[in-house]
Symmetry: D3
Subunit: 149 residues, 6 copies
Amino acid sequence: MLQIKRNRIGLNAILLASTEAEEENKLYRQLRESGYIFCSGKVGSMDTHKIVAAIETAAKRNEVVDGSLYREVHALYHSSIEAVQGMTRGQAQIGELLRTVGLRFAVLRGKPFQNPEEGEWIAVALYGTIGAPIKGFEHETVGLGINHI
Amino acid sequence: MLQIKRNRIGLNAILLASTEAEEENKLYRQLRESGYIFCSGKVGSMDTHKIVAAIETAAKRNEVVDGSLYREVHALYHSSIEAVQGMTRGQAQIGELLRTVGLRFAVLRGKPFQNPEEGEWIAVALYGTIGAPIKGFEHETVGLGINHI
Amino acid sequence: MLQIKRNRIGLNAILLASTEAEEENKLYRQLRESGYIFCSGKVGSMDTHKIVAAIETAAKRNEVVDGSLYREVHALYHSSIEAVQGMTRGQAQIGELLRTVGLRFAVLRGKPFQNPEEGEWIAVALYGTIGAPIKGFEHETVGLGINHI
Amino acid sequence: MLQIKRNRIGLNAILLASTEAEEENKLYRQLRESGYIFCSGKVGSMDTHKIVAAIETAAKRNEVVDGSLYREVHALYHSSIEAVQGMTRGQAQIGELLRTVGLRFAVLRGKPFQNPEEGEWIAVALYGTIGAPIKGFEHETVGLGINHI
Amino acid sequence: MLQIKRNRIGLNAILLASTEAEEENKLYRQLRESGYIFCSGKVGSMDTHKIVAAIETAAKRNEVVDGSLYREVHALYHSSIEAVQGMTRGQAQIGELLRTVGLRFAVLRGKPFQNPEEGEWIAVALYGTIGAPIKGFEHETVGLGINHI
Amino acid sequence: MLQIKRNRIGLNAILLASTEAEEENKLYRQLRESGYIFCSGKVGSMDTHKIVAAIETAAKRNEVVDGSLYREVHALYHSSIEAVQGMTRGQAQIGELLRTVGLRFAVLRGKPFQNPEEGEWIAVALYGTIGAPIKGFEHETVGLGINHI
Ligand SMILES: [Mg+2]
Ligand SMILES: [Mg+2]
Ligand SMILES: [Mg+2]
Ligand SMILES: [Mg+2]
Ligand SMILES: [Mg+2]
Ligand SMILES: [Mg+2]
């Protein structure tokens, strides 16, 4: 297991999005000890909005963001869209371009900067496969979005 | 140290792009044992073309691609551009949008599919920071491009 | 009430798209006195094409464009698409990116240039809110497209 | 009839996509004599994915690509997406932007480079009309994507 | 003079960016009375980064943002980029596409939401002309970006 | 020689941009007999704006557009940008993405619609190669933009 770096919120989000089940517990402990609030999940879809919705639902339910405050939802939203743009590389479209994705996502919230006034930031990572709607006809893809919250 | 998964060319490229110096040797050995040809390097720039050039130069010099064949250079090129698109999330521009990047890149070549006829594929990963041209005013960013070669 | 500038077709379109009901009559009079043909309306949607259609329908019905001539419909169409691009800032997608809009639109046709040979131009303005499909979880957005007609 | 240039895979694809029925037989013969494997067809749609699917189905059925190999399907896919990007000029959306297309497509596979090690390449061309969903309210459009295969 | 609406941070930013010198004082007073911190300025350029820099410099100098905190600079930066995307409609490029702009910009910081926990937001507006590098060969353009800060 | 179709302004522009010197005279005669005003030329560059400028300069010098009227220059400009978008497929950048182009361009002005009220339209076509700045490491590319004028 990589010893995580406390201040690398983005890389830690990618690790969480790409870690296999058996290694998750160790990673969870390290993230908690590093002061992160986080959640992760799976989503497979041909619709971009379902990926954004899955991330938002998980982040609200796990209290990574306060779903009653638009400023928190707005911060998460733009992180998610940036992650989707990285994952789709050019056009934020999946099924409309005849491709499908199978992804794990992770959302981390924490304080990656030394100056305490820099406050909290949020990272959304996507890791999985993108490709034709035929099993195995797909390659990996990654996306990461980071925002102040 | 994460035990790498042999068939995850993209995740392995991200690992190589994000691994600290002290852990590199172990990762190198695992990648070699898994049959990958690879290289990595650093590039900081406000010009997209310098990032693409740094990747291409390293990949040719380390014989990850055959620089005398356009089809290999073409495969690498489109992987690099997809990685840049993921890293920039929306507009493949750096200095023109008044931002700068400090990146590590990795190029992996190998056979990630079980069917031997699927042949070789190439992955380009970028990991580092993007932000204002002021030290510390930056956050992490990631990009990944994968292509058949 | 701002005294409108006759030759600012774009700013006048934004004014018309953002003016409250009580001030509309004064603005209408000023626009008519300045020689503009115009219309305005409301549209709320998660589909980009419904916004483009609402603009086109209103502009035809109010004879801002001649719906029997493709060159006029083409001029209006590209103005509308440019306004949508400004309103969406990056990806011309609404519901697919899990957002919704509540907009007022305005279409102005007139002669904003002193040289009479520059002929007629058309401006499409959008003003309203964009955000999550939750009431109040939204911020303002603006778009403007201008074309010769 | 233009005498085709053997090494211009892209221009030949555009010729095939834009040739009228009566001239097709002469073109077919020339393309075969030049060593190309190819197919062509028609597609009209407001959905980008239906265009990509029509190309893929025709290319598999006519054995221009081996549909059992992802690397071949991947090469064709990226050629098709590049052709769609050229045809749509900016946003790879059709109906969502309230426009429709009537296209002929062509897929050519061959060896356009003198060096035999450059191997096979694939070209996808689109030619037809794009415009409002009203007959005659449309203008021509072209797209071309080329990839190593 | 339009009586400004206190909670319309975006429209107020556009007003400030498009108001003529003689009307500025009245608008300044209204904005101050509404609790906004703001600044405005002019920039003409063929380089996107000079526009972003002009906005950032003015916002720091006028203490609309705290230039020593990355989270504030990051919030302003993304607002500026969204405004640039709206102003350029599709490609965030000016001189590279052989066009030039003459713009007024405005930055407003305030509390546009009734719920005090929604805190402060920032709006960047651009208004001016875009066109060929020939005097008078240009039309109006607008851009607006809004972010939590 | 293909007998050109009088009403296919876009395809005729592509033909003119892709025709070899020895066949040009025949094509010129056909285009003139079909009532087109046109010009063509060559441009090789890593800068998008040089391509747009080469087209504009040729079109003005050959009186395909009236360079003293912004509405004509505006119509040509948007046709050129659409052709560039088709030629670059996704990002209207050349050298910044470490690629270079060698193109022939053509500009045609005529009346492609039967209804005389549809008036004049303009087509800009680009045909040539795009690739690495190494001779032979390039493939073909095409772009087409059409506008009312
Ligand atoms: Mg950022
Ligand atoms: Mg791919
Ligand atoms: Mg324009
Ligand atoms: Mg290519
Ligand atoms: Mg927003
Ligand atoms: Mg058009």
